[in-house]
Symmetry: C2
Subunit: 292 residues, 2 copies
């Protein structure tokens, strides 16, 4: 594809961005649907059309067959792992028996079998921090279960977001025995690092990090986001190789995440919006699959 100068913002965009016009435009925006709600836009499901996970009823015979297909161990248990549907964070791990899985399937609240109390345990029954289950997966051996859901609040009884906050390598290196560090995947490690940068103070004589510079300089941050978006686009227009596109996307994502930090927005909130727009939880997705 021939290289081309990137189109400028269209005139309509510039006009729509004058400060005075903004409030009325926002009202207009409320009246006219966003791209994801427009006819033929993807998807047809609007945010309000997606219900929170509610109880479901299935054919009893089918449920029994499914429960019988699980390879319960000698105590009638299987490992059950609760995972955050938006962030992928492993929240906790417990065990389920047939009754616990059946309850989770129908109530869509993550339910376990407490080995210490020998009874069913609906996670959240005392703390009210339920895990609202969007989908349930079995592994290839059918002896391990994932409850994929959205927690109402911190999952751990300690108040931590997840139960996994003890790093073995931290412990072995011995320098941070009192410092707890939640297990995080790449995106959230980056988000945490940006947060730490925001908290640090720049002392006289020391040079701030790039992230800190961006956090302190709105114009620099905005021009970098615009520049990185332009460079991502250019990889398409100039037919550059895919590694270049991945690299430019990494740049854009990082700089946009610095802006989100300034605004106090977490990536989890962004994914929640996408999930509600795109309605990707198992049940809703299936029931709406033909619509979009």
């Amino acid at each position: 594809m021939a290289a081309a100068a990137p189109p400028r913002f269209p005139a309509s965009y510039q006009a729509s961005r004058s400060g005075a016009a903004r409030p009325s435009l926002r009202m207009a925006a409320a009246a006219s649907p966003g791209w994801w709600q427009r006819r033929n836009s993807y998807p047809a499901v609007s945010m309000s059309a997606v219900p929170p996970p509610g109880p479901l009823t299935f054919d009893n015979h089918k449920v029994d067959m499914l429960l019988d297909s699980v390879k319960w161990d000698s105590k009638g248990l299987a490992v059950a792992i609760a995972q955050n549907v938006d962030t992928g964070a492993i929240l906790m791990q417990g065990f389920a028996n047939k009754e616990a899985l059946a309850k989770t399937i129908s109530t869509r609240k993550a339910t376990f079998f407490s080995r210490s109390r020998s009874s069913l345990w609906i996670k959240g029954e005392t703390s009210m921090n339920f895990i609202n289950v969007h989908d349930i997966f079995l592994d290839c051996d059918r002896d391990s279960i994932i409850y994929l859901g959205k927690p109402d609040g911190p999952t751990c009884h300690t108040g931590a977001e997840t139960c996994y906050y003890t790093s073995v390598y931290d412990a072995l290196q011995g320098s941070e025995t009192t410092h707890e560090r939640l297990v995080t995947t790449t995106l959230y490690s980056l988000e945490n690092t940006i947060s730490r940068r925001q908290e640090e103070t720049v002392t006289e004589g020391s040079k701030p990090s790039w992230t800190k510079k961006l956090l302190l300089d709105t114009q620099l941050l905005c021009s970098k986001i615009r520049e990185e978006a332009g460079e991502l686009i250019q990889t398409l227009l100039d037919n550059e190789d895919k590694s270049r596109a991945a690299s430019e996307m990494a740049d854009l994502l990082y700089h946009a995440m610095v802006l989100l930090r300034v605004k106090g927005v977490k990536m989890e909130e962004v994914f929640e919006i996408l999930r509600k727009r795109f309605s990707q939880s198992g049940i809703e997705e299936k029931s709406s699959r033909n619509k979009y």
Copy 2:
């Protein structure tokens, strides 16, 4: 903050984007480091400085103390869950005994205890699809372990990326008994949906989805990405509320992901780049923490 018209692309940016200048500019870019490598940029660790997880040696006494602190069950086992450090995907779940955890700590290859064979099992020893462990976490009860790592290839013996590809709700709804669907969190559900859109054919008379339109129209896609980046920036310049910023970020991310689909790039590749740049795996992060 007072509303302001967004700055246009700087003249230097426009100039740098002329097709003819591109090759020499890229050479210049290769010679001069990217923002993440520049002095005082975040982070100080460049991609090449981050080694793949290699064997580590720790004080034997410390390792023994740590191993003794795990609450092994009556068979000497604890649940061990392998999770992809970049995507958060739960790859598999097995069990570890003291020896398996010790091996994983030192070799940084996810190692389990096979209950069926009553022996240690290094995941990948036959398939060569090792899981390279970046960090290891224990839960609050110290009876559950996460191996956070990067798989060399598909984890499941079936060739699937993860062992969890059987949705309970799909099975109960009965319509897709032969269709397997990998467990995916929001971002990857969206990525899959965009892929499905790319595969679908637009028949005469039917109107394509918004995603399909974007996939087919480079100019539309590029102008939307530029527009959404501008709108995200505007939430900062106009001091709009955080929900607006989250919503604009969702728009930008979605449209950028459509571009990545056209380029054949997966979000996992983007996160891998960010991880290598930002060096967020436990060990490397700790050893480089003072540098950035």
